[in-house]
Amino acid sequence: MKLRVHGLLALSGLLLLAVFWLGPAPVSAQEDMVQLRPEALQPATRPAALFKHDEHNEKAHLEDQCIVCHHSGADGVLVADETSEGTPCADCHTVEKGKKQTALRQAYHRRCMNCHKAKGRGPTHCSGCHDKRHP
């Protein structure tokens, strides 16, 4: 009898653990951004650009400069000091170039590569970001 109770306890414990592990696991994997693959640029022609959001910004000392990437504005004019964390780039930058709006692919390339060039750190060759080894 005692053995049975122990067995049941162990089983339910395992079940609980399984639910705990399997349930939130995919969610936390989603939260850890490792690459960029915006819906708007599908079907893609290259491997998704590598971008480990938090690790990248820590290494590049950008934790207090979210606005460098998450800026804000409309009608071709940026609004200083207003950020847009959580708003996808594609919400403002359309795939086709607008009259006053930088096109989406270009917006990514300019933001990412221009800083890498200026700092002399971070990849500027295609496969440095679009890496077949990490598709």
Partner: protein
């Protein structure tokens, strides 16, 4: 490595374009001066309609007697040049660079087609090498300058193909591809590759003499 890559794709690229354009203008200008000095009488016979007709004619594969004479070299020559221009302009990664740097976009060919055409060009170059080595007449007139021109023309395609396959870490081949492309730009005015500049002038000269003076076709 990053610093050198950024230098090669930045200042060095501008320098290569400047030498290419400046050198080409200088070479064409000095050739025209030379023609004026040595063949002043002939300049007056230059005939644009005859020149254009002949140039168009020679741009058609097998469109002239000269092209019909040796079909394999004709085929290799046309494949090489057509693929060269198509790849130069319509390779997907080249369009990305234009839009990144200057903001304009245009249609491109699919990645697999670009890779295939690159292999066609490399195949044509192998044919040219083989011919220079095995055809006794061609071998006899071949000099170091011919090998240099052929090498400079082939290198961007070999490195370009390897870069698109992401050879090793990807950076080294992309860097070599950029450097080879810049070497080709610089070499066009100053090596055998100058036929790219002078071929239209040569054709115009011959066509005008044949057409306007002797009243015969030059094809």
């Amino acid at each position: 490595m990053n610093a050198f890559y950024n230098f090669a794709t930045g200042p060095l690229a501008w320098a290569a374009f400047a030498v290419f354009i400046g050198g080409s203008v200088y070479r064409i200008w000095s050739m025209i001066q030379l023609a004026k000095q040595k063949e002043a009488a002939f300049i007056s016979y230059m005939s644009l309609p005859h020149a254009l007709r002949s140039i168009v004619r020679w741009l058609i594969p097998f469109g002239t007697l000269g092209w019909k004479e040796n079909p394999s070299i004709t085929l290799a020559t046309f494949l090489f040049h057509i693929c060269l221009f198509v790849l130069l302009i319509f390779t997907p990664a080249h369009e990305v660079l234009w839009s990144y740097a200057f903001g304009f976009t245009f249609p491109v060919i699919p990645e697999v087609l670009a890779d295939t055409l690159t292999l066609v060009v490399i195949g044509a170059c192998c044919f040219f090498v083989h011919r220079r080595l095995t055809n006794i007449q061609v071998r006899y007139v071949t000099t170091g300058k011919d090998w240099l021109a052929l090498g400079i023309a082939t290198a961007p395609f070999i490195t370009g193909f390897l870069a698109s396959q992401q050879f090793a870490d990807g950076q080294i081949m992309t860097l070599l591809h950029v450097l080879c492309g810049e070497a080709m730009l610089v070499a066009i005015p100053f090596t055998r590759l100058s036929h790219a500049l002078f071929q239209p002038l040569t054709r115009a000269y011959i066509a005008s003499e044949f057409g306007a003076v002797r009243h015969v076709q030059d094809w």
